[in-house]
Symmetry: C2
């Protein structure tokens, strides 16, 4: 039943050695005879001792925690990034601590501050475009920081992501190559989501370079979802009916758009080519083709965590690496128009 938790002193007593020797024995820290190592480990096992990471952290000024800051937990994209992070950390002895900001910069600053107070072994933060005070916070944190999702800018330390602006540009070129000219944009570009904004900027720039301008734009401040995408599409089409292509800020809303088109009898992609972003699993199974840009979400999480682990391994407080992962455009030709 136990009263209080067992401490190292209990192990030491059970093994008939000092606390110090017990500590060294359990950590394989040397300066202990083989006989005592076994005696201590045996004793620890028998009484069911579990170390106290809090005391350990206080003592040696570092933890086995990795802070992760994402804007949304329910968005499947970040969920997959988190899965990548957890996978990389799973057998390393490190534990992720997740913070969610809801795309709110104040909450982001607060979350980061809260995490730093725990002196984690490293920090993974979404995005490159924190406001200056937050950036300072990261800069002077004195621990490895990896910013993820994005490489369009200057990271404070490490960085793993994709070229967002370039992704928008590439898709614009691909759509033009498909012969599309009357293109609309529909987005759930939350204020805090600079990635979507960058893609859109790259997209519009490339269109302009080809002498094309957007027929119309519809931007919502709601979080993206299939339902939202469907509604936005209805609204957009009620304003602009002469359209041969729609660029959505992500797959979720593009899929919503597709569902509307299917119900409305609009041939996709023949009449309207729908374009999302991310390359979600879902997209491959759809009963009609939509274009998308595949992004390595899982791998972003994986790499980011690996960078932290490497830095922690060599007791460095910097990562100082920038990793750009490739994206891939997936576009099935519609009938030529």
């Amino acid at each position: 039943m136990a009263g209080k938790r067992l401490t190292l002193a209990d192990v030491a007593r059970a093994a008939g050695v000092s606390k110090m020797t017990a500590s060294r024995a359990l950590r394989n820290a040397g300066d202990v005879s083989r006989a005592n190592i076994e005696k201590v480990q045996q004793a620890a096992r028998e009484i069911g001792y579990i170390g106290n990471p809090i005391a350990m952290s206080l003592s040696n000024q570092r933890t086995n925690l990795v802070g992760v800051v994402v804007p949304s937990a329910s968005n499947i994209v970040f969920a997959e990034v988190l899965a990548g992070i957890t996978e990389a950390l799973s057998d390393s002895g490190f534990q992720p601590v997740i913070g969610v900001t809801d795309y709110n910069i104040d909450r982001e600053a607060e979350t980061i501050r809260g995490m730093l107070s725990w002196r984690p072994a490293g920090l993974i933060v979404t995005g490159l475009d924190q406001p200056e005070p937050t950036r300072q916070l990261l800069e002077h944190a004195g621990l490895p920081v990896v910013q993820i999702m994005d490489v369009d800018g200057t990271p404070t330390d490490g960085c793993v992501g994709i070229a967002q602006t370039e992704a928008g540009t590439a898709m614009a070129r691909a759509l033009i190559a498909q012969g599309r000219r009357r293109i609309g944009y529909i987005g759930c570009d939350l204020a805090g989501d600079t990635r979507a904004t960058k893609r859109r900027a790259g997209f519009e720039a490339a269109l302009a370079a080809a002498g094309v301008s957007l027929v119309g734009t519809l931007v919502s401040e709601q979080p993206s979802s299939v339902v939202a995408g469907r509604k936005l599409t209805v609204e957009f089409l009620s304003r602009h009916d002469d359209i041969d292509c729609l660029y959505y800020s992500n797959d979720d809303i593009a899929v919503g758009g597709l569902f509307h088109c299917m119900d409305a009898g609009i041939p996709v992609p023949e009449q309207i080519l729908l374009t999302g972003f991310n390359g979600l699993d879902l997209v491959q199974a759809l009963p009609a083709q939509i274009a998308t840009t595949h992004t390595p979400r899982h791998e972003i999480g994986l790499k980011a965590a690996q960078l932290i682990l490497e830095a922690a391994d060599q007791r460095s407080n910097r990562v100082d690496r920038m990793i750009e992962l490739p994206t891939r455009i997936d576009i099935t030709p519609g009938f030529p128009r």
Copy 2:
């Protein structure tokens, strides 16, 4: 710039008081004059002091952490539960620490053990059916534990979820009421996912009570996804063609099934009524109707976290409450057959 981190002693020195007085002033712990409270808080603000939760935890034997153990991070269902938990915790001063088990019971035990070593303020664990050793671990953890998703069984402490078996039963009755008789089951029932198994059991039992038995069953050990659902449906239909209804273990694979039916020209729900589980946002936007059971995923997370907060608030180490949340069947009548 800074050399090392600021400590309470620095604040005390700056304010011209003792460590103890500074500590009390910052916590509003009483026994401090109004003048000193302001002097200390002013000093803390000026030098930019951030408390050290590690030292604090070691000292008063409790943390502001809430451990959360889920089987999957990328599954949207758990992502939404996590969102609910983060929401409930967001302004409470508590932080969630998330652990992912990948439906592996060994990893689950290990994860829980790791979390307990941090002495969190509480623990939220997915499922009621941990193996005995793990159950013991929770039982003797000496802190509030809430098991979530499921109320079909005996919780070790608190519990927030839905009646899974009953959900299966209810859907079976609803389908029979719709006139469906030739029913098949398609599931991604991972070994560790006892919820899906319970629903299926309830479903089959209710069918049997109505004198109906499943035409066929196809179960996969892969994680569920839209793509998987589509493939499984193709396989199922190649074996059993005389079907008027399919019960899937969740919405993801049901949607995959729908997509196949749409491509294959099978009228849904007229010829085959498709039935998922969860009531995902996605389902409302589909271009064809599928039936589903709405589950309060977000609210499960919310309530679970609230229970932990309440217990932590009154320094209790138990929750001792069982909350069953309602589900709602959403079924649009197809043409009578």
